[in-house]
């Protein structure tokens, strides 16, 4: 049990900072950055990666952004909406943070949404919930990761046009994230001539996927929209049932994350997935980040690690443009949204809702230097959350869900 680890004081020696905290020394006040992440429960592996990468990002910059020290305060939301809210209040009211990063899960983001508006706290979001940058846009949010379906849209096109699949099955977690991602995939895949013949959703904490696997119908391929370690668990069982010969698995942005890839064997080889990041990207920022992260943690950075690292880069760029004056919240928020910078995921900029416009990569699992990696095989440049659709028409539709868009081609 590590006492007080939560108040991780970076930069100045621990004692000095502690003294500075107790006395309201306002002279050279540090920037207080709150990270909402999940350190307990089923989502914890991603949550811990978020903390590790952000800590690394700050350490590389000597805990200084735009000439000001940065103090990182990490809060564990336990992946529960009510706790996420309490922890947000703690960071805002007790620690008086200047801005927040996180949270991880969509329902957590929705739980704190109105509180953020009320307190007007700039948030660098990670969770993928569609509507916070669409039908109910939050003016205090920028999201440098992606919306739930942002990477699934290009995957739908890739499956129909490049891989030439005619019929597909989708399966995902029975949470908003799973619904939204598979819905976006279905929409683009079907508009490109494909047919979704079966849609399945399993509970987030399903102990066993046997009942779902035995229901699978005949199709060319199956799209896996799972989060966390569920994609890995599903695929393992999928192989045990000997289905890989009959049905080709492809995945969404969290199905075969680098964090779980290290636990897999040859059965993962050749699986195609989509994401806004891969540890294999050869841009200059990532060529520094990925090896450094690997050296420190013994595995490749994935979705969650890259998420906070990208958000860190966005924060750095925005702070630079306003000379570190984070206290002027509207100016800081405007700077965040105007940010155009190169990050480990490639160039990012933001749309009018604060959602990222950036590259989406189609990746294939290959073996490199003995470990499994997600090699990039195709890049869709500058993908927006609206894909190729007209923004107005897109927003006039209901938000992606279990039932929208309706699946018209289900086989009986």
């Amino acid at each position: 049990m590590k006492m007080s680890r939560r108040t991780m004081l970076h930069g100045t020696a621990g004692l000095a900072t502690a003294a500075a905290l107790s006395a309201p020394a306002r002279a050279a006040e540090p920037i207080r950055l709150g990270l909402l992440t999940v350190k307990t429960g089923p989502l914890a592996s991603g949550g811990l990666d978020m903390e590790r990468a952000l800590t690394m990002f700050l350490k590389e910059r000597d805990n200084t952004l735009s000439g000001r020290k940065v103090e990182l305060i990490v809060a564990d939301t336990a992946g529960a909406p009510a706790t996420a809210r309490t922890k947000t209040q703690e960071l805002v009211e007790k620690n008086d943070v200047h801005c927040l990063m996180g949270p991880l899960a969509a329902f957590e983001a929705l739980a704190i949404d109105d509180y953020i508006r009320e307190k007007q706290i700039p948030v660098l979001g990670v969770a993928a919930a569609e509507d916070v940058t669409q039908r109910k846009p939050n003016p205090w949010l920028v999201r440098g990761t992606s919306s739930s379906a942002q990477c699934a849209h290009p995957m739908g096109e890739y499956c129909a046009k490049d891989l030439k699949y005619k019929t597909m099955i989708t399966i995902g977690d029975d949470i908003a994230y799973g619904h939204e991602m598979t819905a976006g995939f279905q929409r683009v895949f079907e508009e490109n001539g494909g047919k979704i013949v079966q849609k399945l959703f399993a509970p987030l904490t399903a102990p066993d996927y046997g009942t779902y696997i035995s229901q699978l119908k005949e199709a060319d391929a199956i799209f896996i929209g799972f989060a966390g370690s569920n994609g890995f668990r599903f695929l393992r069982q999928f192989n045990e049932y000997g289905l890989q010969a009959k049905l080709i698995p492809v995945g969404g942005m969290t199905a075969l994350d680098e964090a779980v890839l290290r636990n897999m064997g040859d059965e993962a080889l050749g699986i195609v997935t989509t994401c806004w990041y891969s540890a294999e990207l050869d841009n200059p920022a990532n060529q520094k980040f990925a090896p450094a992260f690997r050296a420190e943690n013994k595995y490749d950075p994935g979705f969650y690690a890259a998420a906070t690292y990208v958000e860190g880069a966005v924060l750095e760029a925005a702070l630079k443009s306003i000379d570190g004056k984070i206290e002027d919240k509207p100016a800081f928020m405007a700077a965040l949204r105007a940010t155009k910078t190169d990050t480990v995921r490639g160039p990012v900029r933001f749309d009018e809702f604060g959602n990222v416009i950036g590259n989406v990569y189609i990746r294939k699992v290959t073996r490199k230097e003995g470990r499994l990696v997600n090699s990039v095989i195709k890049t869709y440049p500058d993908v927006s959350q609206f894909w190729t659709y007209d923004q107005k028409a897109f927003l006039a539709n209901p938000v992606y869900s279990r039932d929208w868009p309706p699946a018209k081609n289900l086989s009986n």
Partner: protein
């Protein structure tokens, strides 16, 4: 008796003064403690006084919260109407669930309450058109009773304190009344009570309904505090936390759920700031309570004090 009155007065005054001296974070923490107190106190009617352990009490808290949020956000009803509807609906639900669950007692009762609560939880997840499923319901604003704004943490805290005070007083009167005594009679000697001409089933059923009603009150406070509702509120974890509060504090005592609920909320929301593995601490504290004071903190401390005075 005199010192006891003094203690009560001091703690009451400090509770009222708290929002004027503490920061927002601590006021909000205190509000959450109070809401948990109402919830645990309502459950204590069942667990402590009727001897019926329920693992499904969250159904009533969540049901009231969902009705309130649903009717105000989706239908645009005024908060007072929504509150009345929520409480009426929850009481009705408790009447129905009670009628089903009280076909059994002991373990059977526990399992039936658990199953019924899981049904409500499942509905909240699945009936997306009504509950917005896993995205939860947002957009609720706090009411303005008599033109007073409850938007600030301090105002909402004081309102919660008032309602908590009313809830605890009413429950105290209820427990001390003839009905309360007969309820405890059905807990200790159901057959004798039946032989004496009491309708044991009816006594228990009314207790179930009253417990459901006060859990509904806790649900209203909860939803107005959070201004967001998600199916996880209806999960077994919420019921279990309420039950932990009752058992840790001391079931069948008026002060027990107050102490127990405060302990659970503070461990969960405050200790977790300083200790990364707060789940373990929570577990360890409860194991300790069970080992040292098996009947709960309040009876345990009372026993210690009595020993000292002797």
């Amino acid at each position: 008796m005199r010192t006891r009155g003094l203690y009560t007065a001091v703690s009451l005054i400090s509770l009222i003064v708290l929002p004027f001296v503490a920061g927002d974070f601590y006021i909000n923490l205190a509000t959450q403690v109070l809401i948990a107190v109402v919830f645990s106190a309502s459950l204590n009617i069942l667990v402590g006084y009727a001897g019926l352990s329920s693992l499904g009490h969250a159904a009533f808290l969540g049901f009231a919260a969902y009705i309130c949020a649903g009717t105000t956000v989706t239908l645009g009803l005024p908060p007072l109407v929504a509150a009345v509807l929520a409480l009426a609906g929850t009481t009705l639900l408790a009447a129905i669930f009670g009628a089903i669950a009280l076909r059994a007692s002991g373990l059977g009762f526990l399992m039936i309450t658990l199953a019924l609560a899981q049904v409500v939880w499942g509905l909240a997840y699945r009936w997306v058109g009504l509950t917005n499923g896993d995205n939860g319901l947002t957009g609720l604003t706090r009411p303005h009773p008599f033109g007073l704004s409850l938007d600030s943490p301090a105002a909402f805290y004081l309102a919660t304190l008032l309602i908590t005070g009313i809830a605890l007083t009413v429950i105290a009167i209820l427990v001390g009344s003839a009905y309360g005594v007969s309820l405890q009679g059905t807990r200790d000697q159901p057959r004798r009570m039946a032989a004496l001409g009491h309708n044991v089933w009816l006594v228990r059923w009314t207790a179930f309904i009253i417990a459901g009603f006060w859990a509904g009150v806790a649900g209203l406070l909860y939803v107005y505090y959070q201004r967001y509702i998600h199916p996880s509120v209806l999960s077994m974890a919420t019921s279990a936390e309420g039950l932990l509060g009752v058992i840790a504090g001391g079931s069948g005592t008026l002060a027990g759920p107050v102490v127990g609920a405060a302990l659970v909320v503070i461990l969960k929301n405050y200790a977790s700031i300083y200790i990364e593995r707060w789940n373990m601490l929570l577990g360890a504290v409860f194991v300790l309570i069970v080992l040292v004071m098996p009947d709960g903190i309040v009876p345990g401390v009372r026993r210690l004090l009595a020993r000292r005075d002797r």
